[in-house]
Amino acid sequence: MEKMTQDQVRTIANMLRKRSLWMIHYCTGCGAMELPPTMTSRYDMSRLGLAPFVTSRQADILLITGYLNVKTLRRVITVYEQMLDPKYVIGFGSCALNGGVYWDSYAVIKQLDRYIPADLYIAGCMPRPEAIITAFQDLMDLIDSGKADGYKRYKRDLAYYKENQRKVLG
């Protein structure tokens, strides 16, 4: 019985969470260039309950907009750890997946999910606003079904993530 209620609470919570996603206003890479159109009047992602927020404490989604430089990675990890559970990460474009056009660069990390868990990826370089909105909707579905559990994975596999982080950040 108690389990039931917990599940119901979780379902309701997820339903609410997906309707109010606040993204942190942090442009880590060039994919952030398609965010202003998405945020503003032409595509207006607030229709979906999304809003840009300023500080890591307030935000629910971290957008890794493209490539992650090692120097930025350090800040991104801090930001990610500052965010409150539940929190979600979307990797934008090619670079977050496998280094993208900067595959041979000494400064850019190649796989986002070795350092912080990503819940969703979007193809494209850079993804256009339609794709971003689709991604947000997909993320909502994932949240609804409880599959967006990156923050749980981060807690569970903390040693793995920390080891990888230490390897690049020194």
């Binding site: 280094g99 595959w103 041979d104 660069s105 000494y106 990390i109 190649k110």
Partner: protein
């Protein structure tokens, strides 16, 4: 334009090449570079557009170039100086061109060029916790470094 070429030629120790309309190359010796830049500024080259380095690894030299712009004559002149790659030391130009300060910080970091007189050159600028060769040098292998430090996805079916 030819007037300004003659003026540059009057500066001691310069070798002037005219590439095309509005583009001049001025080669100088390492000892004379600051003096030349100073004289160049006096004859109207008041803007420093770029200051950077070419790694001439085959000659074991660094070519440092200063792209200057003369607003009145609308001429770009590139002052080039070759320095020893094993002991890359150059005097700062920040007293003449304040914008050289940041460019010098960059070349100090990216090529390991020592800039005498620029206090901040050599301090971390763009890179953070860098402990390898200066990355823009030709003998620094970016792909090797990447594969050592990062993991490629699906690397098994790529020949990189």
């Amino acid at each position: 334009m030819m007037g300004i070429v003659d003026k540059i030629k009057e500066i001691d120790g310069t070798k002037v090449t005219v590439q095309r309309e509005n583009r001049i190359f001025v080669d100088v010796e390492k000892e004379r570079v600051i003096g030349t830049l100073y004289s160049m500024k006096l004859i109207g080259f008041s803007q420093l557009s770029v200051l950077s380095v070419i790694d001439r690894i085959a000659d074991n030299q660094f070519e440092i170039f200063y792209v200057l712009y003369n607003r009145d004559e609308k001429v770009n002149a590139t002052v080039r100086v070759w320095i020893d790659r094993d002991n890359p030391v150059i005097e700062t130009a920040e007293k003449i061109y304040p914008s050289a300060h940041a460019w010098e910080r960059e070349i100090a970091e990216m090529f390991g060029v020592k800039v005498e007189g620029n206090e901040e050159a050599g301090k971390p600028f763009i890179l953070e916790n860098w402990n390898d060769l200066p990355p823009m040098r030709k003998d620094f292998d970016s792909i090797k470094y990447s594969s050592e430090h990062f993991v490629f996805r699906h690397s098994e079916d790529k020949n990189e």
